[in-house]
């Protein structure tokens, strides 16, 4: 039932609005609304009940194992939420004067420092509001760098074919063409193809390392050297930063710019699809181009650096200073982990992934890159099962839901057929991993005896498989008031 269907005309059972509101006398009639929008008219209890029950229809980290590859669905500490919502922080106006902002700004400054340390970059801007915006900012800085040197003919950003879809999309948003570089069978970038693609038109390359294939790009130093020699810069997609925290730093690998997904590596909530936060870190040469605002300190207090202080900046990415509440959560998380905790993130997420990979292989599933170590995530291919049993990755995914686990990422990256990209994260106990492996074995067994049963999954959820074709063909994107009658 939709909230609109709980609505009753004239119902106002809330304590949420002033009883006497005064009048709109200052506003000429032609500016005023002629009829009220048909929003729900429900009591506070009806709203609470409706949304409480809706929430129960979700899978979430707080209720299920959620090994969604490339999304780093790890535990979101509850303290991060409650402390970021402290009245003094949650009510601070973004344009409050520095006299009333030192507490907040100190946290932002320290977070910049933490992120520098963790990534090995020279400077950080917290402004980007999500990973994709961080990507945009990164490529825009690369462009600004070339432009500032008068090197204006570079038109291409190289992108491995395994990259996240955001990578080429971001390159295009910055006015570049995205040129794909193929991946070798062992999961590393095809160096010959790279060499062939490099040239005076090369503005840079976007890499995720570990890549979305769940393997570490071993020849990263060589790549960096070649790209730099061609006059290009290296962009690091931080989606998989969780895999290397405290083990190896993008700055040390030779990257010039990196974005971080704080909702992944720094455990801010995914919130049903955001908000994220996508700070960017840069090497020395890109510093002048960082998006504003930045926080600096003169030792006495903290100040904002804005457009007028940073004339070469690519500019502003958002109305204020990024997703501050999310940045606070990341700061709190980082402070709770400390140096040792931070390092262990990579260690144990990698341990969990390698353990699962090993156990799944022992159980007869095929690794996409059997010769490689798993990083914090890994890929199995269900090509064999699809062929022999007629049950594909999507069927496995849906059936896993019945077993009370969220499915891994399916059919991404695109180059592995019947692909499961599995990322357990460091916060899962071995019991969860074992339960997943057991469920996979069970599902295969089910498929052996009754493939149709598996193909009909899920059965235990609020709905069964949905008709996506109908959804796209007969667009129904909003409740219509006439349904109310």
């Amino acid at each position: 039932m939709l909230i609109f269907e709980h609505s009753k005309s004239g119902r106002r059972a809330q304590a949420q609005a002033p009883a006497s509101a005064g009048s709109l006398s200052g506003i000429p009639r032609q500016f005023l609304r002629k009829h009220q929008p048909r929003l729900p008219e429900v009591s506070e209890m009806q709203a609470v009940r409706h949304y409480t029950r809706l929430s129960q229809k979700n899978f979430s980290i707080d209720t299920q194992f959620y090994p969604l590859g490339s999304c780093t669905m790890k535990y979101n500490p509850r303290a991060c939420n409650s402390l970021a919502m402290l009245p003094g922080l949650v009510n601070r106006h973004p344009l409050a004067p520095d006299t009333h902002s030192q507490g907040f700004m100190s946290a932002m400054y320290e977070l910049q420092e933490i992120l520098k340390e963790v990534t090995g970059m020279s400077a950080v801007s917290l402004a980007p509001m999500a990973g994709a915006q961080g990507e945009f900012a990164g490529i825009a800085m690369i462009r600004a760098y070339h432009d500032a040197r008068g090197d204006t003919e570079r038109s291409e950003i190289l992108v491995p074919d395994a990259a996240h879809g955001t990578n080429p999309a971001s390159a295009v948003m910055c006015g570049y063409q995205a040129r794909e570089i193929p991946t070798r069978d062992d999961g590393d970038v095809d160096m010959d193809a790279l060499k062939a693609a490099l040239g005076p038109q090369t503005a840079g390359i976007m890499l995720t390392n570990p890549s979305t294939l769940g393997v570490f790009e071993r020849r990263i130093e060589e790549i960096a050297q070649w790209v730099h020699e061609a006059g290009g810069l290296l962009y690091y997609d931080g989606a998989n930063l969780n895999a290397i925290l405290g083990r190896v730093r993008p700055g040390d690998m030779g990257f010039d710019v990196i974005h971080m997904n704080l909702h992944k590596t720094f455990s801010t909530p995914h919130g049903g699809g955001g908000p994220g936060a996508g700070p960017v870190g840069v090497s020395q040469r890109l510093q002048p181009f960082l998006p504003v605002p930045l926080v600096t300190t003169d030792g006495d207090g903290y100040q904002w650096l804005e457009e007028q202080d940073r004339p070469q900046s690519i500019g502003r990415l958002c109305a204020f200073a990024g997703n501050a509440g999310i940045l606070l959560r990341a700061y709190i998380y980082a402070k709770m982990l400390g140096d040792e905790g931070m390092r262990r993130v990579a260690d144990y997420s990698t341990l969990n992934a390698n353990y699962m990979l090993k156990k799944l292989r022992e159980a007869g599933f095929d690794a996409a890159y059997p010769e490689r170590r798993a990083t914090h995530e890994f890929i199995i291919t269900l090509k064999k099962e699809a062929k022999e049993l007629g049950v594909n990755a999507m069927d496995f995914a849906k059936r896993l839901l019945d077993y009370g686990m969220h499915a891994p990422t399916t059919y991404f990256p695109l180059l592995v057929p019947e692909c499961f990209l599995i990322e357990p994260t460091e916060t899962e106990a071995r019991e969860s991993l074992d339960a997943f492996i057991e469920a996979m074995v069970k599902i295969r067994k089910e498929a052996e005896t009754d493939a149709e049963q598996v193909k009909g999954a899920p059965y235990n959820l609020p709905v069964r498989r949905l008709d996506d074709v109908k959804a796209a063909r007969e667009l129904d994107l909003r409740w219509q008031p006439d349904e109310a009658s």
């Binding site: 929008p37 729900p40 809706l54 003094g88 509001m129």
Partner: protein, 467 residues
């Protein structure tokens, strides 16, 4: 090991199962010379009590001043239920609803959100959110350039009365695609967009005209005329609106003869706390015929195998994870949690509650203006009608007045000098919402009175002793 559940025994057993002797071995594909490990600059981890004390100190040091700043972020009442529900683990810790069957809670909520936003905006379709208002406007501009079949122009008309940070953000986000923003002036007396200046572009080729309502000065724009101008000149009309204001003001879908093509803005006034500027959320609505050009997630209603109603992500062919370099936008994660809050917020207030919040804000601003102008030396800078924010002209530099007020824990507004030098140094943008009580406004008046008095006496040095 906070949050890492492995016991030493388990770690050992898992390493044995993998067949390596230690965790270091798992990183053996990383070239030796790249390995680091020293993050000691981070310092030791804090336990929850320590971080709690630290954050409380930070929060305390920022005080809880009395706030009359608006300028794009508004201190409205948020029902307690909103965040108690939105932070339920099942909403807070779920991700983008890729597996629809396991995400009906979030999906249905987003569908409800889309329904509410289209109602509020009087538009046909809505997406499920973008980042914030400024970046949503940039997406609208990009969308207009893509979608305007009548025009090949990459130029956009953008009033100077529009939020300067928004203009700056749009510039950053579109300039690399060769898109150009042209300013339209405002009338010095009314604070509204200068229709004559707009008329100068009659017959010129632009992809779109952006129409803010209210504008950055809090002034109501002649939106009907502007929308019709756009339509008449082959431009798409993009409304940039305060969504709460739309509970009482003519919504963009009804501006002019046919309404705008795209409506967008920042959803913050619908249940997002001020929170130092974010996370808020950008919203975007458009006409049905533009839906395939719209960026961001869109949720559709459909049926399952057994014919039961269900909800799913739809029109994904527009998105980066399918179309990659040909996507409508690189947007991916958006602001789901904020939309969750906004949807609950709108359900709790309803149209009537939102209208009352808006009306009370308007009435409070009027009262504040009355109080401040009664001091004799302060007057409104513009004559145009306003919603809940307005520009006042002070008899001293706004910067100086604000500094003194802040010392008394009153944040008196936003100084326009930097972004609008043509208004001089004395123009102050002030806002009042329904959260300000009469006592709050009286306090502002008293403090401002002291500011004015001390200025006359030239006794700045004694200001610090006020209270």
């Amino acid at each position: 090991m906070p949050f890492i559940p492995h016991t030493e025994d388990e770690t050992r057993e898992m390493l044995d199962a993998i067949g390596v002797s230690g965790i270091d071995d798992l990183f053996d594909e990383i070239p030796d010379n790249l390995r680091c490990g020293d993050l000691s600059a981070l310092g030791p981890g804090l336990w929850e009590q320590e971080i709690s004390q630290l954050m409380q100190e930070k929060a305390r040091s920022d005080g809880q001043p009395l706030c009359f700043i608006g300028a794009g972020a508004y201190d409205h009442h948020i029902p307690s239920a909103v965040w108690q529900l939105a932070t339920r683990g099942e909403f807070y810790t779920a991700y983008t609803p890729y597996q629809a069957e396991a995400s009906q809670g979030t999906l249905q909520l987003l569908y409800e959100y889309q329904s509410m936003m289209t109602e509020l905006m009087a538009m046909e379709v809505s997406n499920a959110s973008l980042y914030d208002g400024a970046s949503a406007l940039a997406e609208a501009v990009l969308m207009a350039v893509r979608a305007n079949r009548k025009s090949k122009s990459r130029r956009i008309l953008m009033p100077r009365s529009l939020h300067p940070h928004y203009r700056a953000t749009v510039h950053t986000l579109v300039k690399n695609q060769g898109i150009e923003l042209l300013e339209v002036a405002y009338e010095a007396t009314t604070g509204q967009t200068d229709l004559d200046d707009l008329a100068r572009h009659q017959g010129e080729d632009f992809a779109a005209l952006v129409i803010p309502q209210p504008n950055f000065f809090g002034v109501l724009e002649p939106v009907d005329e502007m929308t019709d101008f756009a339509r008449a000149n082959g431009m798409l009309a993009i409304g940039l609106v305060n969504p709460l204001a739309m509970a009482v003001l003519q919504p963009p879908g009804e501006w002019g003869v046919k309404g705008v093509d795209i409506a967008c803005g920042d959803g913050q006034p619908l249940g997002a706390p001020l929170s130092s500027g974010g996370p808020y959320f950008g919203f975007m609505c458009c006409t049905r015929k533009l839906v395939r050009q719209m960026p961001g997630r869109i949720i559709g209603r459909t049926v399952d195998l057994e014919g039961r109603v269900g909800f799913t992500l739809t029109l994904q062919a527009r998105e980066q994870h399918i179309r990659r370099s040909k996507a409508t936008s690189n947007i991916c994660t958006n602001q789901g949690l904020m939309v969750t809050a906004a949807t609950i917020h709108m359900s709790l207030l309803g149209a009537e509650g939102l209208a009352r919040a808006g009306t009370k804000s308007h009435a409070n601003l009027n009262l504040l203006v009355e109080k401040l102008t009664s001091l004799g030396e302060i007057e409104p800078a513009f004559s145009g009608p306003v919603f809940h924010e307005t520009v006042l002209r002070l008899p001293l530099e706004a910067r100086r007045a604000l500094r003194t007020l802040a010392a008394h824990n009153v944040l008196g507004g936003y100084d326009l000098a930097r972004h609008y030098p043509e208004l001089g140094d004395n123009a102050l943008l002030v806002c009042a919402t329904e959260n300000r009580s009469e006592g709050d406004m009286e306090k502002y008046r008293l403090k401002m009175q002291q500011v004015l008095a001390s200025r006359k006496q030239g006794a700045c040095a004694t200001m610090a002793k006020f209270d």
